[in-house]
Amino acid sequence: MTRRYWEDVKEGQALPEVRVEKLTRTDFVKYAGASGDFNPIHHDQTFAEASGNPTVFAMGMLNASVLSRVVTGFAGRPNVRTYKVRFATRAWPGDDVICSGTVTRKFEQDGEKRVEGELRAVNQKGDTLITGSFVAALPSRG
């Protein structure tokens, strides 16, 4: 876990990128088993086609989980206070999920030094998969 101090963070600062390349159907099945999301539209080709889709597509929460790693990689999991996502478009087998974030505000709340930031996940074509935001507490030099 990275130790990052509130005093060293600047508004406008970019967060380290997280990238998953070439999603596979196996990734969807692993996430189905891990999360309990067995909506067949994400793993059953026959059901996906009957629903008017060319094939299965990633659960939004799989992409959102990858995007959350931008926050935990930056602030550490214990420091995450809020995490919010809005789903824009879907990710298909073969797509990349490229996740980035920016610190937008530093503030103090509930006796903690906190940062707020914006998040975005895009595919390899630059289409937005998810927009999001977070609040995290950071340790202070005191």
């Binding site: 692993k30 999360s35 309990g36 929460m61 990858v66 995450v80």
Partner: protein
């Protein structure tokens, strides 16, 4: 939207008991391609965070504990036309492997909006509160599900 959809506002689900298990955390972390030892290595996690913690989105695994769906009140949406619109988590106290959480979900709003790519859309907003074995409120989740007017096209 069908007239009876609005009548779901205020409906609560049965409380769901969810054990936060180390093996399930490991499986979840692997599924999201996360290799932080906080999720795998007990000794490291104890020193860094008081124990192994679940990933940010792990509370979604409540689906495994709600066998008959009675814990998550939901509208009778057509699965072929359902989209996950938004998801939000608020963490109020630490959660660790070994904790036993009790989750209560409630539908807090249902409304219609014209859709850009699928006719009229119905939005259902659900909130879940998670308490640990000591009764502390540890997290809140907010979940927006959308039923589109026709099959979804990007």
């Amino acid at each position: 939207m069908p007239v009876d959809y609005k009548s779901y506002i205020g409906k609560s689900g049965a409380p769901v008991t969810m054990h936060v298990e180390r093996g399930k955390i490991r499986e979840f972390a692997q599924a999201i391609k996360e290799d932080d030892p906080l999720y795998f290595d007990e000794e490291y996690a104890r020193a860094e965070a008081g124990g192994i913690m679940p990933p940010v989105t792990f509370l979604q695994t409540i689906q495994h504990w709600d066998h008959d769906g009675s814990g998550r009140p939901h509208l009778p949406f057509d699965l072929k036309r359902v989209l996950h619109g938004e998801q939000e988590y608020e963490f109020l106290a630490p959660i660790h492997a070994g904790d036993v959480l009790t989750a209560v979900s409630r539908i807090v709003d249902v409304y219609d909006k014209p859709g850009k790519r699928g006719g009229s859309m119905t939005f259902a907003v659900a909130e879940t509160e998670y308490r640990n074995q000591r009764g502390d409120l540890v997290a809140r989740a907010r979940h927006i599900t959308i039923e589109t007017g026709q099959v979804v096209k990007d």
